[in-house]
């Protein structure tokens, strides 16, 4: 029985992978509790940015096209979702569909133009588009985006569908999924289910002929062309899919917190998802999710560690030792969390160019080798 189970796991059929993944995601509140990361807002961020990174990886990981403007779709998704809350209903389903659709359309437009070039020129084109959208949001599009203040719900929004069925309650309405509130833990579980679905789709793409085509484009696009297959439609499709994933993530950001601001589209946000993907491992299924976990954890937990926390932490040392440790460590925590991230990023790029996933596979290989050696020595003894 045990053996059968092991075999099943080794085979890594789609079903087992997704079941293990689902178990891992849904139990996050338990295993993240010891490191202080178990509170709804951060859990929601983990899974939402997980979707963003998984989608980004479909483009960057499979085709090798480094888009530097992916945050645009995150922002567009958020705006579209909030508008759906304002105009139609507080139910999240239309908002999510609407947001994914709109970001897909915008991805098609940007992809159509940007995909004429590859390499650094493609990156620059996407960056230019992102910057353009960011500036538009702060200037001519202010009627849609509400500029720096951010797009928010108002008491007297039309909300056509909701108001058709019932009179508005006093106060601002909150988002719901057929009665299930999107605040707190229920919001997290909703996003987690969406992440599991998104992950399943991404996995299917990775293991499909379409995914194979994309990988072929990454390894040698010229050869692909010489063999007579047109790569452009595949590239644009990959770009649109990853744009829709980002739009979905943006919609979920608005679902858990109905507010959209243009800072979500800033180039730093685009850079963040690249960092996440590279940190975890480009082109691997789990890598980007690992990257998301590390970066969001540093951003939310590490950044709140201040000197008094450090003093408590090092209080077992003598006074002088405590002071030295606090002054050595404090530049790396609190406001300095970016420094920690930078150092970590450098170490990983230098020693593990394939990201954390490469580290794991190296450990695994070494372990296997040791095992084979053991077996050999066992057999010689006999």
């Amino acid at each position: 029985m045990m053996k059968q189970l092991m075999n099943l796991l080794k085979k890594q059929s789609d079903l087992t992978t997704i079941l293990m993944f689902a178990a891992g995601v849904l139990t996050m509140p338990i295993w993240l509790d010891p490191i202080g990361a178990n509170y709804p807002d951060l859990l929601q961020k983990f899974v939402i940015f997980g979707i963003f990174a998984v989608g980004y990886n479909i483009l960057f990981g499979l085709t090798g096209y480094l888009s530097f403007g992916h945050a645009v779709f995150l922002g567009v998704g958020s705006y579209a979702a909030v508008w759906s809350f304002k105009l139609l209903t507080m139910n999240v389903l239309p908002a999510i569909l609407f947001a994914t659709l709109i970001s897909g359309l915008i991805a098609a437009a940007i992809g159509f133009v940007s995909m004429r070039r590859s390499g650094i020129y493609f990156s620059i084109l996407t960056l230019a588009f992102a910057q353009m959208f960011y500036n538009l949001a702060y200037s001519v599009l202010i009627p849609i985006t509400n500029g720096e203040t951010g797009l928010q719900l108002r008491m007297h929004d039309p909300r056509i569908i909701d108001n058709y069925f019932s009179d508005p309650l006093p106060g601002l309405p909150s988002t719901d999924f057929f009665g299930m509130s999107m605040n707190g833990y229920s919001g997290f579980y909703f996003c987690a289910v969406v992440l599991i679905l998104a992950f399943y789709i991404a996995m299917k793409i990775f293991r499909s002929p379409f995914g194979m085509k994309l990988k072929a484009i990454k390894s040698n696009q010229h050869r692909m062309r010489y063999t007579g297959s047109d790569t452009r439609p595949y590239l644009i499709t990959a770009f649109i899919i990853s744009g829709m994933f980002a739009g979905l993530a943006g919609a979920l950001l608005a679902v858990t917190d109905p507010l959209a601001g243009a800072e979500r589209m800033q180039w730093t946000a685009s850079g963040e998802v690249i960092l996440m993907t590279i940190l975890g491992g480009v082109g691997t299924l789990y890598g980007p999710l690992l990257g998301v976990g590390i970066i969001k954890y540093l951003e939310n937990i590490f950044s709140t560690i201040n000197e008094s926390v450090l003093q408590q932490f090092f209080s077992f040392l003598p006074q002088w030792g405590e002071n030295i440790m606090v002054s050595v460590v404090s530049p790396f925590v609190g406001e300095g969390w970016h420094l920690t991230l930078g150092v970590l990023f450098m170490i990983i790029i230098i020693f593990l160019p394939g990201g954390l996933m490469e580290g794991f596979s190296r450990i695994q290989k070494r372990y296997r080798k040791a095992k084979i050696k053991d077996n050999q020595s066992d057999s010689t003894k006999e």
């Binding site: 509140p29 338990i30 509790d33 202080g36 178990n38 509170y39 709804p40 807002d41 951060l42 961020k45 702060y138 200037s139 202010i142 500029g147 720096e148 203040t149 951010g150 928010q152 719900l153 008491m155 006093p170 106060g171 601002l172 909150s174 009665g179 299930m180 509130s181 605040n183 707190g184 833990y185 229920s186 997290f188 579980y189 917190d257 507010l259 601001g261 800072e263 979500r264 939310n300 950044s303 709140t304 201040n306 406001e335």
Partner: protein
Amino acid sequence: MSEKHEITRRQFTKAGLAVAAMPMFYTKGAWAAKDFANNPGNSSKITLGFNVPQTGAYADEGADELRAFKLAVKHLNGEGDGGLMNTMKPMNLKGNGVLGKKVTYVTGDTQTKSDAARASAKRMIEKDGVIMFSGGSSSGVAIAVQGLAQELGVLFMAGLTHSNDTTGKDKRRYGFRHFFNAKMSGSALGPVLKEEMGTNRKAYHLTADYTWGWTQEQSIQETTEGLGWSTTAKVRTPVGAGDFSQFITPILNSGADTLILNHYGKDMINSLTQAVQFGLRDKQVNGKNFEIIVPLYSRLMAQGAGKNLEGILGTANWDWQLQDEGSKAFVKSFGTEYGFPPSMAAQTCYVQTLLYANACENAGTFYPPEVIRELEGFKFDGMGNGATEYRAEDHQCFKDVLVVRGKSNPSSQYDLLDIVKEVPRADVEYDASIFGGELGPYEV
């Protein structure tokens, strides 16, 4: 530490139930038996959250706000010299924390971004269990987190936020503002402008492009046009732009004779410095000296702008040179602690913290609807601005407003502003209904 874990585990089991049945945590109608978000219950301490910009264009103000918050916590716990607790009246605070519970605090960085501010506030509420949070320096942020306060049922005592919207069209039952607003700045500034610059001028606005800039531009325009001035142009500039030269060059040939800078923090320092460098103040237009007005002024900005601020008019919520008992007590207390006088941002944050604590003492509970009812319409004195009232209709404090001018011969690096006029409260009052908006329900 262990206490924190207990809370999270309890939250987790609750969430487990929430998935099965209807959610009951952080949702409407969750106050069964007067339970409420982050109820301290039998705990011996309460936690307050201080959410200020520690990076970005308003970081200086944020740093000073944080100093004031820490000082307020000290005084509430009975440490230090007590500060305004010696002068505030009426007052119920006893110097043993709030309702006998010791006050602790957590801090966060808003980065002057709505998104980051809300994430930080959510962390405070969901993880650290704060019962009230405060902070500010950007009205965009204040309005964003005020909405969150209403959703989650945790009080927000706004720090520095000057937009009319905060207590106007975006007012919330769970948000309170002690600071004055753009409308009041306009009313206070009007008569002084008329006296000094006459009734026939052409104004050119440079405006920070978000809720605060918009409402200040509108309020100042209403005031100046009421005096008979005309408005040549209103140009919106991005927040944190750094370089304003592209916006300043067109002013030279616009025919305007007055520049109104609706900027704040480092933005205002940069735009004013560049305006002076471009020679605007030495110009003569329409036979008049070119003038610059900075409607919202703070000493921190004056420190940054240096000599460029000489003679420039503006308004302030409070200044450390005021000579009433409350102001003197606060300046002394703050100065002893940090070695320099407090800014107006620091004063408003300190006062807000004390007002919240006092309202809890008056209500005898931390239950937010009761605390809100205590604050609404609360009249007090001895906090530095004379007799003050929290208007119940819009949660805006009404008090005297200062018209100030950049000093020409400062005696020290902090003595930078002359108080031109203390405009009495009656002159800056307005009808609460003019901005629209609704406070929303007491119980969420």
